[in-house]
Amino acid sequence: MPGIFIIAEHKEGKLKKITFELLSQGKKLKGKSGEELCALLLGSNIENLATQLGAYGADKVFFLEDETLKDYTNESFTQAIDGVVKNQSPSILLGGATAQGKDLLPRVAARLGTGLAPDCVNIELEDNGLLKITRPIYAGKVLMEVTIPQSRPQMATLRPNVVEVLPKDDSKTAEVIKSKLDLKKEDFKSVLKEILKGESKKIDITEANIIVSGGRGMKAKENFKILEELADAFGEGTAVGASRAAVDSDFALHDIQVGQTGKVVNPTLYIACGISGSIQHLAGMSTSKYIVAINKDPEAPIFQKADYGIVGDLFEVVPLLTQEVKKLKSET
């Protein structure tokens, strides 16, 4: 019988938050269709992860093990997933709209000859068995609804931070079905040679719960230090972002740029420091749950989107804010 499949993502021996979000999404869909919720886990020597998935809602785990799957490549992962999916014929296959998911799922969908709705913010199951999928386009200036009426499985990537993780239930375990694959390296045309670590160990802005972001008003690269300090005060799950103006002025690297030619982010809290709020920037962050704006210019468009604003010099406000946050954190 068809099922709801999710691709479990993990890194450095741990399941990623998106995996729990996907299982929570899967559970909601299962509530409607009654199909089994299955997780696909790919890698080598990660049995311990397979057993964790049940508590988050997986009925079954298809653990695809092979030495070559230790490193991610879109070719090897596609080949492994293609085999199971053709065998099991699920009705739905979901992955994360993460660096890996965005690279992998399009190839899987093409291999299976089915449709993929990328970077979705809402996925619901209709009575006719079709997913009604909502996805932002034009960097979030518009939303569109799509369906995948003919081909199966219906595929989508889920944007991180959109679905709340349901509480885990340690009494639940999943049936782990382990398959030893025999993939041949020489069959693939690409190989991962090396992973180059970034400067900071911070999480990606697309997965951050709190983002402290700087714009042209930061004036210099060195000044981003005060944003780093505020981010550290908030603690885990916080990342530093930047506007295009700041990136173009070489104050920050492009991989933390928020907006239409950067990344679209969806944190609980977005603190915009010295960002005026161009249409491209606003498109990239306006789904944040709370927006705080700190800007000298009371007319800056960012104030039109902000829940809380302080008109003032960020170089005065941000360090004070850091102090206050630290103070409050130490009290709790």
Binding site: P106, P136, Q304
Partner: protein
């Protein structure tokens, strides 16, 4: 080297998007159309490869007549020729159908290396390059911020941006597809003589029959994704500006974040 850049014309990122009356699409009147910003990096990389190794740089685009403007921009910076895939049957193609159309054209032009932007900033799908790779049985690297070619060995080394500042170094066999990200290079501007020359460069047009496609394979009929309604996100209301001296205002902000937003 036979270098092909696939590009798309999109609304300028400054555009304020307005929906058409039946919410089935955006209103295109008055829009300023530009080359997809990420495709500029693909064009520049194509030019650099051509300068280093020699060969021909072809600009391939599927879209309406007006796409020629974006193609001319690429031709003005030094690309050699253009191929526009234009047919009323192609309208409404999703990523899958678009990739199929491009794959047929590429089988005609030939290719040693294919470059695209990492995504088009209109529909933000970021998947045509991957589906295309499947149709042509090629490897691809997405979100490319560094590229080195070794044509003698038929190999390339690409740097792919992943997350949190991390990058992967991936070796691929050529031919291959690379989906380009900002930071890969700094696109050049067209020179005046370049713009003059571009006007005389050939842009070939190919349609359904030229590519040996059937109407049911393309457009909405050949698409896997069915489009429904478009809608605008709920408008965000401006909140409060916290008044008072900076230290008091800051303290009040932290209190609000704790009590109302339940953060901290």
């Amino acid at each position: 080297m036979n270098i092909v850049v696939c590009l798309k014309q999109v609304p300028d990122t400054e555009t304020k998007i307005v929906l058409n009356p039946d919410s089935s699409n955006i209103l295109t009147e008055g829009i300023k159309w530009v080359m997809n910003p990420y495709d500029e990096y693909a064009v520049e990389e194509g030019l650099k490869i051509k300068e280093k190794f020699g060969g021909k740089l072809t600009i391939l685009s599927m879209g309406p007549e007006r796409s020629i403007e974006a193609m001319r921009t690429a031709l003005a910076t030094g690309a050699d020729e253009g191929v526009l895939l234009n047919d009323s049957a192609f309208e409404g193609s999703d990523s899958y159908a678009t990739a199929l159309i491009l794959s047929k054209a590429l089988s005609q032009t030939g290719y040693d290396i294919i470059l695209t932007g990492k995504q088009a900033v209109d529909l933000d799908c970021s998947q045509v390059y991957a589906v295309l790779a499947e149709f042509l049985n090629l490897p691809y690297v997405s979100v490319v911020v560094g590229l080195e070619l070794f044509p003698d060995q038929k190999k390339a080394l690409a740097k792919r941006e992943t997350e949190g500042g991390e990058k992967e170094l991936i070796e691929v066999n050529l031919p291959a597809i690379f989906a380009c990200q900002k930071d890969l290079n700094i696109p050049r501007y067209a020179s005046l003589p370049g713009i003059m020359k571009a006007k005389k460069k050939e842009i070939k047009k190919l349609g359904l029959n030229d590519l040996g496609l059937k109407p049911e394979e393309v457009g909405e009929a050949g698409s896997k994704i069915k489009k429904g309604k478009y809608f605008l996100p709920p408008p965000r209301k401006a909140g409060i500006k916290i008044e008072g001296e900076i230290p008091e205002a800051t303290a009040k902000l932290v209190k609000l974040l704790r009590e109302e937003a339940k953060l901290i």
